[in-house]
């Protein structure tokens, strides 16, 4: 027998159809009324679609795919800013791979790179540090996107720069906060969301605190779940139990990776380097108050937004009208409802950001489309 501590056997257990079946049985017993559950995170959407979970569950349970895809929610004008920076001489723009294909007003970063801009794909902010050391005469600008999970990694990069006296790194900060976006969805007229599967790794950092006020103000149950099929089913089981008991609040089903208080060290990194913007525009969701981070004034030396304020133009084009990304990100439409899906819009040649990312609903449906109900 494989040793129990081994990663592979652990993953097999989390994907084991037999165990899943037993949990599915318990879920069926708890299902009564129709219930619409939003899984906030794109990682959850991927598991649900990839393993065809919706088809295995009672028809009363439906999933609304949420806005938890950082690439998808980064609006066009921020991509335009990155493209404008990349066109500067003596500058290296570093970005995570998925951002490369996101369409901007005048093309994507991929197109900018093809036209000769120095754009490097990095896997981690750690690579940015290495790039800066290898290119001491150039400024390396990191196009930083992502939620609370990623913000501390950007902060840790800057901390290393300070410690090692590296002065040729700047960051274009686009970090966003999940809870204000969830609140924006709950405030929409006719919101259909009954309960939430809360994002696992965001909560690894933040703990349950950002979601507690939402649960109590809007009287909704939240369960923090992991990313394997077992985790989603366990989260669902907890949620249905809460619904049956008319409970609200935030529970953690992903106990192996999430503590109620989160990761205090990572939170202290966020606190030290960032403060909250008055407002930030999300793709599809529009302006949301207090929903994003920016560098604190004392760290302006790292702030690409300040250093290059002159190169950004303010005439970004709106997203193409036929693209339903906005409605997809709010859980109001499934990708297959978009007329362009799989035809004019594919991962190779995306019209909207939701098709680009491996965490975007359109990209996920495209990749696993055989498993999506018509």
């Amino acid at each position: 027998m494989t040793p129990r501590g081994d990663t592979a056997s652990f993953l097999n257990a989390l994907r084991d159809p037999k165990r899943a079946k037993r949990l599915l049985g318990a879920i069926k017993e708890l299902t009564a009324e129709p219930v619409a559950i939003m899984e906030v995170c794109g990682g959850h959407t991927r598991t649900i679609v990839r393993y065809g979970l919706e088809q295995l569950l009672p028809k009363e349970i439906s999933f609304l795919h949420g806005p938890g895809c950082p690439v998808c929610v980064t609006p066009r004008e921020r991509v335009d800013m990155a493209v404008a920076l990349a066109q500067k001489r003596g500058l290296v723009l570093a970005t995570l791979g998925d951002m490369l294909r996101v369409p901007g007003s005048s093309g994507s970063l991929l197109q900018a790179r093809a036209s000769g801009c120095d754009i490097r794909v990095v896997y981690s902010p750690l690579d940015v540090l290495a790039l800066a050391k290898q290119n001491p005469k150039k400024t390396v600008v990191f196009f930083a996107i992502g939620f609370e999970t990623t913000a501390p990694t950007t902060a840790a990069l800057l901390e290393r720069c300070l410690m090692e006296g590296i002065q040729n790194v700047k960051v274009l900060v686009n970090h966003v906060l999940v809870a204000p976006a969830i609140e924006a969805l709950l405030k929409e007229d006719g919101s259909r969301i009954d309960a939430f599967i809360a994002p696992g790794h965001v909560c690894t950092i933040t703990g349950t605190a950002p979601f507690e006020p939402l649960a109590s103000s809007y009287q909704k149950p939240f369960v923090v779940s992991g990313f394997e099929p077992w985790d989603i089913l366990l989260g669902l089981h907890n949620l249905l139990g809460m619904i049956a008991n008319k409970e609200t609040g935030v529970k953690i089903a992903y106990t192996r990776a999430v503590l109620p208080q989160g990761n205090p060290k990572a939170l202290s990194f966020i606190e030290r380097f960032f403060d909250v913007r008055e407002s930030f525009r999300w793709r599809g969701l529009g302006n949301i108050p207090k929903s994003a981070l920016r560098l604190k004034h004392e760290f302006s030396a790292f702030d690409a937004e300040k250093a290059y304020a002159g190169v950004f133009s303010s005439d970004s084009k709106p997203d193409p009208e036929a693209c339903l990304c906005g409605e997809v990100l709010k859980g109001n439409a499934k990708p297959s409802e978009c007329g362009l899906f799989g035809q004019a819009c594919t991962p190779q040649d995306p019209v909207g950001a939701c098709m680009v990312s491996s965490e975007g609903a359109c990209g996920i449906y495209f990749r696993y489309k055989g498993r999506v109900p018509a």
């Binding site: 989390l14 165990r19 901390e159």
Partner: protein
């Protein structure tokens, strides 16, 4: 962006760096965001090259099977 698969620390490389093994693929990861530095053999969750939490797969597996026992549905043969 999220790498949900537990990765095993196989080598510590100061300062604040380690080599982690994710299902046979190894890479350099930062330990800057961990409250306490892990030891070789510990499992962590990695997000864009940073270990963000330690976890214990063995413990998690036991919790899972305990939960199934409590559910009291059919035993897996």
């Amino acid at each position: 962006m999220c790498l949900a698969i537990p990765s095993k620390i196989v080598e510590l490389r100061g300062p604040g760096l380690a080599v982690a093994d994710t299902l046979g693929t190894t890479r350099l990861v930062s330990l800057d965001l961990l409250e306490e530095p892990p030891s070789v053999g510990d499992y962590v969750i990695i997000h864009v090259g940073y270990a963000i939490q330690r976890l214990d797969p063995k413990d998690a597996l036991e919790t899972m099977d305990l939960f199934l026992d409590l559910l009291g549905t059919d035993d897996d043969a």
